[in-house]
């Protein structure tokens, strides 16, 4: 019997397999390391996305801020908004009202995707309502000559309109504050009261008093006006307009509702509406009532039974004639032209009210980040 050896033992296969295993291990190591690198990079991208989303959420709330929120919520109450970004991220923004015109805003940004593969980031910001720092020297402050005649009352002693929140630190001001270069004449049965009744001060002759308000100015307020009315307009029947139980802010004659419903009645829908009304020239108004900030590029003529609560600033003069005109808060007539002489006649009344001024200014202001350290990282 012949046995033929047909196979030989060798090393080639073993070496090849061994080499493949080693190379495989090395490649797997490289792939693992590369995957780790990719994951770290992806995490960085997600984290950055969450940061951007959180900040975008805060900015979105700021951009869509409604002034009715300023005083529309009690201290400590929160406002919550959820914003979905175009790239899929979501920001949940919680704004809490604090005392003294402050809001605390916390924004949590989350990138899109399942919880395990998304990132979260929280930031907080302290906002302060950008309330104009107006220098209100008297019930009426004017740079031009002022004539008070008839059965007029000008009173710089502080008073609070019925149903309005009291002013924190009320002080009495002058009845009329005038520039040293002008005169105030009081005739007939007109009464001017205040501390003092008539104050002659250079501040009344300074245009900064009328047009610069610390953090803001006349132009900025006018640019942010809720209502813009062409110059030369005559308006009658100013008053709140309510539609389906909601305050309708579209009509140009709706200047809010200064007449507070007293408890137990519910507040009127337009009580929380404080418009900034900008008139691009002269304005003639009669009958009705409103509240807010009235900015008149020209002169303001009120010819009877018109009541306004808040701040009136006219670049020209104030002509209040007829019966029943009443301005509660403060009036400034800059008298930018030499001929801009103010006349308060008939049975008009101008009454200084710290409460009205404070409420109106804080209700028309938009928030901005508080000075120096408003922004903070939340953990």
């Amino acid at each position: 019997m012949v046995r033929i050896l047909k196979s030989e033992k060798g090393m080639a296969l073993a070496m090849a397999l061994g080499a493949l295993v080693i190379i495989g291990v090395l490649v797997a190591g490289a792939v693992w390391a590369g995957t780790q690198d990719y994951r770290i990079a992806a995490n960085t991208v997600r984290q950055t996305g969450a940061e951007a989303t959180a900040e975008l959420g805060m900015n979105r709330l700021l951009a869509t801020w409604q002034t009715s929120w300023n005083n529309g919520k009690p201290i400590g109450d929160t406002l919550r908004r959820t914003y979905t970004m175009s790239y899929g991220g979501t920001a949940v923004v919680t704004a809490t009202r604090l005392p003294n015109n402050f809001w605390w805003v916390a924004s949590e940004g989350q990138t899109a995707g399942a919880a395990a593969s998304s990132a979260r980031r929280r930031y907080g910001t302290l906002w302060r309502l950008n309330v104009p720092d107006m220098t209100l020297l008297g019930a009426i402050t004017t740079q031009g000559t002022i004539k008070v005649t008839g059965n007029v009352t000008v009173n710089g002693n502080d008073s609070t309109p019925p149903g309005w929140p009291a002013c924190g630190s009320p002080t009495n001001v002058a009845g009329a504050a005038i520039s040293p270069t002008t005169t105030a004449s009081v005739n007939g049965s007109a009464t001017v009261n205040g501390n003092p009744p008539v104050l002659t001060t250079s501040a009344a002759g300074d245009s900064n008093t009328y047009f610069n308000y610390g953090v803001t100015n006349y132009q900025t307020l006018a640019a942010a006006a809720t209502l813009t009315i062409p110059g030369g307009t005559t308006l009658t029947g100013i008053g709140p307009v309510v539609s389906s139980g909601q305050c309708s802010t579209t009509p140009q004659t709706n200047w809010g509702d200064p007449n507070r419903a007293l408890a137990p009645l519910p507040p009127g829908p337009c009580e929380s509406y404080f418009p900034i009304i900008h008139v691009t020239g002269d304005l003639h108004v009669s009958t009705g009532s409103g509240q807010g900030i009235l900015l008149v590029d020209g002169s303001l003529v009120a010819s009877g039974t018109f009541t306004f609560t808040g701040v009136v600033i006219a670049r020209g003069s104030l002509q209040s004639t007829g019966n029943g005109n009443k301005f509660i808060g403060s009036v400034m007539a800059a008298g930018v032209n030499v001929s801009d002489n103010s006349l308060i006649a008939g049975s008009s009344g101008i009454h200084y009210s710290c409460a009205a001024v404070t409420q109106v200014l804080s209700s028309t202001a938009y928030p901005k980040q508080a000075m120096q350290r408003g922004w903070v990282d939340l953990y």
Binding site: M15, A33, R80, N101, Q372, V376, Y379
Partner: protein
Amino acid sequence: MLRITRGGRAGLTLVELMIVVVLLGIVGAGIVSVMLRQQKFVRGTTDLIATRQQIREIAAVLPADLRGISSVGGDIYTMSDSAIEFRSTFGGSVVCVTNVAATWVSTPPITLVRGSTFTSWSGVPQTNDSVLIYDNGATTKAADDSWQRYALAAVAVQNGSATYCPTTSGLVQAADITPLNKMYQFLLTPAPLSATISVGAAIRFFRRVHYRLYQAADGNWYLGYFMCRNGQSPVCNAVQPIGGPFNAYASPAAGTSGVQFSYFDSTGTALDPTVAANRAAVARIRLVVRGTGQSLGSLSGMGFQTFKDSLMVDVGLRNRL
């Protein structure tokens, strides 16, 4: 009788054996060469990844700390092209009760029914930490507002009660006030507290921190960190590496420094860090981190070389105004 016949097969000749050996040698050398290349590739890749990771870590950590700087509020103590020292805010809250006579303030509980996040910190404030409290001033005008600075003389965790945060503050509701819902009481120094710090005033807790590129005992360059608290001994901790190794320090013009800070104002103009007045004008800080691998590697087919990578991050300061 069994007879084994070798099938007529002849044995290997020396020449054949030599050829086999040579061929095996060539194949083996090829395999070893591939393996060595693979090993170097893997080592290079790992080295590159490690370098990138170190760079990324710094680029992720440092901006989070820099972002909250208030340059206009005097937060930057010193700055240079390789170091910066500043007030680092690590938490915040709001005042619920202020006791001017006893020099303490307290904060609402961390958890509130309404879901407001008044109190948040990376670590509970400790004695000797510093505090800034928003002072609304005597008037409602923004012009007299300021941040008042105090040191923490003591920190006490109190059971939730109206003593430390009543519902009249508006910040908490009755359901928030339970003994288990802890409130923090902070004893402050120096006395007296400003009388115009009111309920709802913002609080910021901060520490003085220092980041710099430095050469450690092992000869490598790292980004070092230390923190300071007045009242502790020593006031400042020893420097600790938080990232690296990075490239050695070089002047900014060289463009190779391991960690390089540049400072810009709100118009984008570069600021000279050696001018003290410029600290208040900083609106943006540019951070460049550069690293070099520790070994040779070849990823690009350009031959073996040490890998270099860098990352630039611009950080806009959020509290500039």
